[in-house]
């Protein structure tokens, strides 16, 4: 569904991504693992059109995304739940959700209201806080808000950048349960995680990104899983000496 081919993204002269190729298949959870600084967030930014790739291509259902503005990419059906959640702190929960459907706000009022109701059924805690400012929510609630807000765009594929970052273990479990449920409803998910243990429990397929390159890909349960987890946490190839 989402095919990333040979993407190179650079900050000035430093290439953060040095030819990354990977694929997220329809209806599946694909997980991108990797240590800090491997380029995971850079890849997400590039796919979402916030950063511009120097070379390579990103295709969503066959349509090229590289070079398109981010608004166009959202319109094509790609939504991103950014790292650190990035909710609008002084805007109410309701308006945060509505902002997620920004692009069809004027044309499809009924549809937006319907989707809003659907998200509130999925996340009852957001309904309790519907008129509160997002900034008053707990970390876990903000993460749910960020997921719900991304779903408001009716994405074909949902990109999630480190949804477990800085959350308590119980909350992390809840977030991963939600991802699993969403996927069961048919949403394609590309999950970026450092928490490899949790991620591999729900992923169908995974990639390992190290120093701007994909160094491993496979399915959970494969032989090298322990080494992959080790490298995802610690970075480098120090684990290969085991």
């Amino acid at each position: 569904m989402l095919v990333i081919e040979n993407i190179v993204t650079a900050y000035g002269k430093i290439e953060a991504l040095r030819g990354v190729s990977m694929e997220a298949q329809e209806g599946r959870i694909t997980c991108l693992l990797g240590p800090n600084g491997a380029g995971k967030t850079t890849l997400m930014y590039t796919v979402a059109g916030i950063l511009h790739a120097r070379r390579g291509s990103v295709r969503l259902q066959g349509q090229e995304l590289v070079g398109k503005p981010s608004s166009e990419i959202v319109r094509r059906g790609l939504a991103l739940v950014p790292e650190n959640r990035l909710t609008f702190p002084e805007v109410s929960v309701r308006e945060n959700l509505i902002a997620g459907a920004y692009l069809r706000l004027t044309r499809d009022k009924a549809g937006v209201a319907e989707d809003l109701e659907r998200q509130l059924v999925r996340f009852p805690r957001l309904r309790e806080r519907i008129n509160q400012d997002a900034g008053t929510l707990s970390g876990g609630e903000q993460q749910m808000l960020a997921v719900a807000r991304a779903l408001m765009a009716r994405p074909r594929i949902l990109l999630m950048d480190e949804p477990s970052l800085g959350l308590a273990p119980l909350v992390v479990e809840e977030i991963f349960r939600t991802i699993h449920e969403l996927n069961a409803e048919g949403v394609t998910v590309l999950l970026v995680e450092q928490n490899a243990h949790m991620a591999l429990q729900i992923a169908h397929h995974f990639y390992l990104l190290e120093q701007g390159r994909i160094t491993f890909s496979g399915v959970p349960g494969a032989l090298q899983e322990d080494e992959v987890i080790h490298r995802a946490y610690l970075g480098g190839s120090g684990a290969s000496s085991h």
């Binding site: 981010s70 959202v74 950014p82 609008f88 702190p89 002084e90 805007v91 920004y102 706000l105």
Partner: protein, 298 residues
Amino acid sequence: MVDFLQNIVDGVMVGSGYALLGLGFTLIFGVMRRLNLSYGPSVMVGIFVGTWFHLRGAGLLAVIAATLAGTVLANVYVDRLCFWAVRQRSAITAVVSSFVIWMQLEEAVILVFPDRTYPFPRLTALEPIELGPIFFRAEYVTMFACVALLLAGVWLLVYRTRFGLALRAVAQDPVAARYMGIPLDWIGLGVAVMAALIGGLAGLLIAGTDQLVIPKFGLWATYKGLIAMMLGGMGSIPGAVCGGLLLGVAEIQFVWYLGAQFRDLAAYFLLFTFLVLRPGGLLGQAIVRRELAAFRRI
């Protein structure tokens, strides 16, 4: 006591003009995180365009339309050159860039209008209103009424429309706003136009009350708007309004009790004291935090 009350009434009326200028500043700052020093000069360009039509015998409506159009054009020019083109870069660069464009706008106006002052048409010819011992100048009442209407309009736009939601989203987190598909470039342009319309209206009301325009209006408007915004708290819409009214009342009271030469001195003293004791202004603690992030790297 009557004097004191009369001063408050006059101050609120004068301050409503400041409030509009502060509102324009705060919109640009709040959404784009940019200080537009050329905002006042853009308004000045607008009223001179209006004057140009007035001098050639155009009617009041044409003058109003020309003033607003001139302000919008000038401010969009500033926005595209100083903010859009350098938007990803540092905030200080954008400030200095808007300053040099101010110099440019002022010199361009002086080239076309070399005299010291030019006339501007009166907007209303009503008699002053008397309520007991208090006088209400008709121009001031008109100004106040326009400002109140406009504020209601701005409030509806910001809190009740899709554009307003986009504004607030960009103001709070531009990156997240892009993830929603909100086009930052267009929002920036929209804010520039909106601020220019507000400033153009302020220019019309103020120039119409004074019935004259001078090139130094740009400097004056930037000062008043900046002070109104800072007193109220940067990026806060109700703050800018309160700041403008406070500035107006303080000025009139100081002039009355201390003398005209204290008008500006008092305003700056108030501003300095506020900044030192309460940098967030009257309303707006949270803004300080965000502003810090925006200006961390200058």
